[in-house]
Symmetry: C2
């Protein structure tokens, strides 16, 4: 498995250890991690810090020329909000751990020219399956359902 | 002019007075403001706290049943990220101060069933025109261009 998706998974596991929702993400530019993060709904009482948003926020303020050279690694298929952030900053490439437990806005991203790769990673799937089955209400809140 | 768009404008003006980008938003549920905010790119060094995101974040963690009764007021047409947050939480109605200086993802929102009203408010237009003409680089950064 690639180093960067491993990094995203370690972010998800960090979130889980904090009592949070286990979704992590890493923003990579020119082969270097420039931002990493995980879902902070529980930890920060946040409705906007999904894993991808946290990684983008932690990368700080960037020029558009930087985002255009980035790959975003995320353990789970990006929801509408995270997909919207990807489109806003024109991040051209997204590598997704899994889309079995939640199918995000992959079609929208593809229709706007974003390259999407789905790894169908068993560890990512198990991590979310276990979490969702034990925390259905919290999970529904996180995806607005 | 309606009270809630006035509130959003006052948030934008607060942001401007702080040295920030003058875009404000208010989340209203059952006729009451439950969250308000403004763009915090400068103030917080944030790439994700657009006005609408800040208002949604400041409303705190909410059940989907609450968002479905909300109207989001924003001084400017929502970008992809903010539109994505609106879609994630299924906020059914968005009232927009203006879309002259920036046209956001209104078509996407409409295609997903969100009711959009644009007020074409002259004060909102002038506020953004003045800001953009004096801060072109910063504005480009905020919209990923």
């Amino acid at each position: 498995m690639g180093l960067f998706i491993k990094h995203a998974i370690s972010e998800a596991e960090k979130g889980l250890a904090e009592g949070g929702i286990p979704i992590g993400a890493v923003l990579v530019c020119d082969g270097k991690v420039i931002g990493s993060g995980h879902n902070r709904r529980i930890q920060n009482g946040s409705s906007i810090l999904h894993g991808e948003m946290d990684a983008i926020e932690n990368a700080g303020r960037l020029a558009s020329s930087i985002y255009k050279r980035c790959v975003l690694y995320t353990t789970l298929s990006p929801c509408s909000m995270c997909a919207g952030a990807i489109l806003l900053y024109k991040i051209p490439h997204v590598i997704i751990g899994e889309n079995t437990t939640f199918m995000g806005e992959e079609e929208l991203l593809i229709s706007r020219g974003v390259k999407i790769e789905v790894l169908h990673d068993e560890h990512c799937i198990k991590m979310m399956r276990d979490f969702i089955s034990a925390n259905q209400g919290l999970w529904s809140e996180d995806i607005g359902e």
